[in-house]
Symmetry: C2
Subunit: 220 residues, 2 copies
């Protein structure tokens, strides 16, 4: 399999395409055109074709792409062979929101353990996920072979808990906190910073026309 240098943006779009395609499939669609998928994903048709090409998916001239085959092709590229376990650190409102997202229930990613420092939460089961004490992190992550962490703790604890995740074996973190983590090289970090995003929205709402986003659909 050739996964030679796929950009982060392409990975994001592929994930989005797949989710859209799963919806289309449920609606009974058997084929999609690149321009249809583009519209649903708020992108351009050429972009869709390039992304799909980059993972080896082919369409039929004049008939578009076969939906189940596409889902399969994207999944073969995005997913690991076996399901990957994920650990959640922080079971506050945000953490519970993460657990409530059933979207990835049937996916290859499963949140297998949650951690919190509040004794009242420990040993509870929320959305099918058990909450452990932070102290148990190394043991649980080793047992479940977890390499992916979601960081949803208060900002003050972010760096400390991130380090605990790393030393427990985590190699990739989805960081919901506004802190920019200082971690050893080789650890992948994706920041979902709502304060930055909100300020961006505020800025481009006040300065329309200068935005990069904002719903534009070039054609071809």
């Amino acid at each position: 399999m050739k996964d030679y240098s796929i950009s982060g943006k392409t990975v994001e779009r592929l994930s989005l395409y797949r989710r859209i395609l799963l919806g289309r499939k449920k609606d009974g669609a058997t084929h999609v055109y690149s321009h249809e998928l583009a519209e649903l994903a708020c992108g351009s048709a050429v972009q869709v074709r390039r992304d799909l090409m980059s993972v080896g998916c082919e369409g039929h001239t004049n008939r578009g792409y076969d939906v189940p085959a596409l889902i399969d092709g994207i999944s073969r590229f995005l997913d690991a062979a076996e399901t990957q376990g994920v650990a959640l650190a922080g079971v506050g409102n945000l953490g519970r929101a993460v657990l409530a997202y059933v979207a990835w229930r049937q996916q290859k990613l499963v949140v297998k353990a949650a951690f919190d420092s509040d004794p009242a939460k420990i040993d509870r089961v929320i959305n099918g996920c058990r909450v452990y004490s932070i102290d148990a992190i190394s043991a649980v992550l080793a047992r479940e072979k977890i390499m992916i962490g979601i960081l949803a703790v208060p900002a003050e604890q972010a760096q400390e808990i991130a380090e605990k995740l790393i030393s427990a074996g985590v190699r990739g973190i989805l960081n919901f906190t506004p802190v920019r983590l200082q971690l050893p090289e080789g650890v992948y970090v994706e920041n979902l910073d709502m304060t930055v995003s909100l300020e961006k929205v505020a800025y481009f709402t006040r300065h329309p026309g200068t935005a990069d986003g904002g719903e534009v659909l070039p054609e071809n």
Copy 2:
């Protein structure tokens, strides 16, 4: 003031710089070098200098940048003259997490009203923010002159509620739902899609080295 075409990425970084600078200021720092700020922001020093230049901030040779002046310069660029009101749609776990986060920083952005369809939540006050019925959206947004919305409702309602926000006067949306909204041109939408981001983390955790992120600090 020349705010001629600042890219979205620069706006994001400026927001981040400011937050970091506020922290440094609280720690008593009076000056920062571009390379210090770069390290804290996980970026490069040249990038920092270019970003700051683009909003007209100047540093002093050999002494770096004056912290309060920098904060001021960035704020003059990012912030509106008066505080901007924000409306939150959806007071589930995610919505409450948003209220908790944003209350934490008393910026020029204030969540002035929240909306939910659950009667049990209506008229409650959470983190200083009152919850209204969805039916009151037009009246409340007009009264508070709100143009920015945060969408944190279940996926099934996302499109519908987004349209209600728009027709109530909102021109920019921070979208936490996994739905790609189909909205009229001129409305700015920023997607914070945790499912996509988690799959991205999973992918690049499994394929290290091909990532764009992952803590690298080139120098100069």
